[in-house]
Symmetry: C3
Subunit: 319 residues, 3 copies
């Protein structure tokens, strides 16, 4: 036990020594750090407000809604003002302000954000409808609200995007990375998304910071809406690096659409695994050439045939 104590002391000393060096991950901050757990709590509370009566194992009755909602809201407001106060210090615009001024700004931003909730609900309602219309496996809308990862990722983007527009550092990204962790869908809070957005399955989707998406767009698993090259690193910051997707576009699984000047026109359909680096005209159905397949058999009678898929029938696909 004495030996153990000595070992503990040695390790503690070694680590404290290491802290006394000049590592950039050890900067002593004179201000607080944000709290990931509080931010996740805020998401879950806002989700309860957006879908009243869901995510609670109790009846949703009209006469209790008022109390319920104001209780949840007060909790969100308290936490959000606190977290925004902390992260505003990261922005050089706010860094010189005193505590009261920071707090006033955090309050202002919090209420401006909450004012967007009815609009967010308006959009989310259309997303639920789009998922129901688009997925033959959907049993009813409750199933979508309770279990569809795509809807969760869209909701979190719509919340985080409003905070992003209000200039809040860090918190929007923590929010969307929480959704990424839960769903495998990585939408940057900077991405702008229209109504009736439907994501099916979703794992592996990446939607970059400066992407613009119109109304009634459908996206399947593994789709990347990305940049052509980020070799410029920080020098590319704030430039439009990601594509524009116009209304009524469908993008099937595994497709990549890349580049800030790439525009996919209205009603276009992008086939699975297509790799698009230039604009696509409105109404086009883009597909990749059929793969040449090779068939081998171990059995005595060797056979090699080429696949002659009917391109008219098969060039787009999904799920």
């Amino acid at each position: 036990m004495h030996k153990l104590e000595k070992s503990v002391n040695n390790i503690t000393r070694a680590i404290l020594n290491d802290y006394e060096g000049t590592r950039t991950i050890d900067e002593v901050k004179t201000f607080d750090h944000p709290d990931n757990e509080d931010i996740i709590n805020i998401i879950e509370s806002l989700r309860r407000i957006v879908f009243p009566g869901y995510f609670r194992n109790k009846s949703y009755r009209v006469y209790t809604v008022r109390n319920n909602i104001s209780m949840i809201l007060e909790d969100v407001i308290f936490k959000l003002i606190r977290q925004i106060s902390i992260v505003l210090r990261y922005d050089e615009k706010y860094v010189m302000l005193n505590d009261d001024e920071i707090n006033d700004n955090a309050e202002r931003i919090t209420f401006e954000f909450l004012d967007k909730l009815p609009k967010i609900r308006e959009y989310i309602e259309t997303d639920v409808q789009a998922a129901y219309d688009g997925d033959p496996a959907a049993f009813n809308k409750d199933e979508i609200i309770y279990s569809y990862p795509g809807l969760y990722a869209i909701l979190v983007n719509r919340l985080a995007h409003e905070l992003f527009l209000l200039g809040v550092p860090l918190i929007p990204r923590v929010m969307t990375e929480h959704a990424h962790s839960k769903t495998g869908i990585d939408i940057h809070p900077g991405a702008t998304i229209g109504k009736n957005f439907f994501i099916d399955h979703g794992t592996g989707i990446v939607i970059g910071e400066t992407t613009q998406i119109g109304d009634n767009v459908k996206v399947y698993q593994g789709v990347t809406l990305g940049a052509l090259s980020t070799r410029g690193g920080q020098s590319l910051r704030n430039k439009k690096r990601h594509p524009t997707i116009e209304d009524n576009v469908t993008i099937y699984s595994g497709a990549s659409i890349l580049g800030g000047e790439t525009v996919v026109g209205k009603n276009a359909v992008i086939g699975g695994n297509a790799f698009i680096t230039r604009s696509v005209p409105a109404g086009a159905k883009v597909s990749i050439k059929n793969q040449e397949l090779r068939y081998n058999f171990d059995s005595p009678i060797e056979q090699v045939e080429k696949a002659d898929l009917d391109p008219e029938e098969n060039w787009f696909y999904i799920i």
Copy 2:
């Protein structure tokens, strides 16, 4: 503070006003909602029953098993009857029944489901063996049971599939979406899967509702067993839209097999990234043609060579 109070009241009023509109996400339900947390608890308890002695930091001793199991089981039964009672109301077959009748049906379904547990354990035992046999990185079977995401996704599918067959709405999908969230593997509860099923790595796998999978099948990360098109939306419901995979088939990473009439015959091997929309005969090894690669060099001596991969050696691959 007075200002803050006023702001809180304003926001609350705005949201309550928004609830009084006609949004389809606000329908006042006269019945309760299911509880995601309870459903996840049920999965974890069933997992403890399927693998006795694991997932508890205490010795597994035979003489305590009886008490332990009946305690866990009673908890599962209580929660499952409650959750099934709630969701049966979603099915028009049950919606007119009174509370006692609903409860009787929920009890009946719960016990019919639990009767399947020995069969589920029989299948899961073969899945653990298949993972051990198939993965050179597997240290022992405990490592598979404790840490392999593929096994977790298969277990949840086997549980959810039995509830799906018993006609339980919503809960099976909540279960498989929980597994999807944890593992990146998206298996619809409707999918039917034979013995000795092995999923390696798994992230990005999608297996659709009407997929049929035989015994001894192996599937790697990024594989889609999907529909050719879901543009028909809800009109395609209950149609076979996803493929049939016969016994002893191996499907390497990134391959897509699509369409309800597509059958991959016994012992076939589907190479990585292959895109299959028509049936594959038994015993075939299907591979995509080698990519033509381009090599550029910044150095003075420019070189361009074509890759001349040996197709016989390299056309199937994995992990």
Copy 3:
């Protein structure tokens, strides 16, 4: 209620009967099992030590660090010795030792592991810098530490890899599978990774057990560093099956690099979706041939055009 009790008894009996068979998943262990929750706690505590002052909603002040760190460290030491004691029994080298001897070994390993913490912090510092330099969307380093899934996966690999090198069974894999679950990034604890490693987005990445990665390497979502075939199963154990990636290599999204003898030379760039099964010389930029795309239009004026992407400009891409 009487009926319900009878049903519970029947089910309990059926399951206990099933346990009395000879299923390989029911072996009665004479020793304890590891505890996933404790192992996850250990990861989170170590993360707090690696990034002092983060992941706590309170100020980081120098004069409290000593107490704070030694408290967290003592907790880690206690849990780690306990968990390692349990898993050492899985290794035939230790299975015959008595409890005291096992405990001594667990203590020795725990402290040898903790001695690596300063080195791990040295490497992680370079990883944070690499993410900041490489990603135009990164606001500051705190955003990376708080929210980037790639950094989380790398940290867990660096911790788990040291335990792997010390011969600890099971725990390293439980750690990396926890990171896999949270991030969609699947790095085996056996993989060796140099300084300045950057993973962007990350979902779908698979890095196999015997992979060797040099310094300053960048990897994007969906990349596989894998084996050419694992059909040999357990017979391939401990063989080098996965590639070697030298310094300053960039691998764009969806690329696969396969095989234990495949070496990607210094400064090489592997283009998106490339499928590499043989070595790539230093300095090469490898890209796949441009896809032939097909454009169809429903409108009266039918148009079919081939894509004539400029290969010089577009052959590498990202995000």
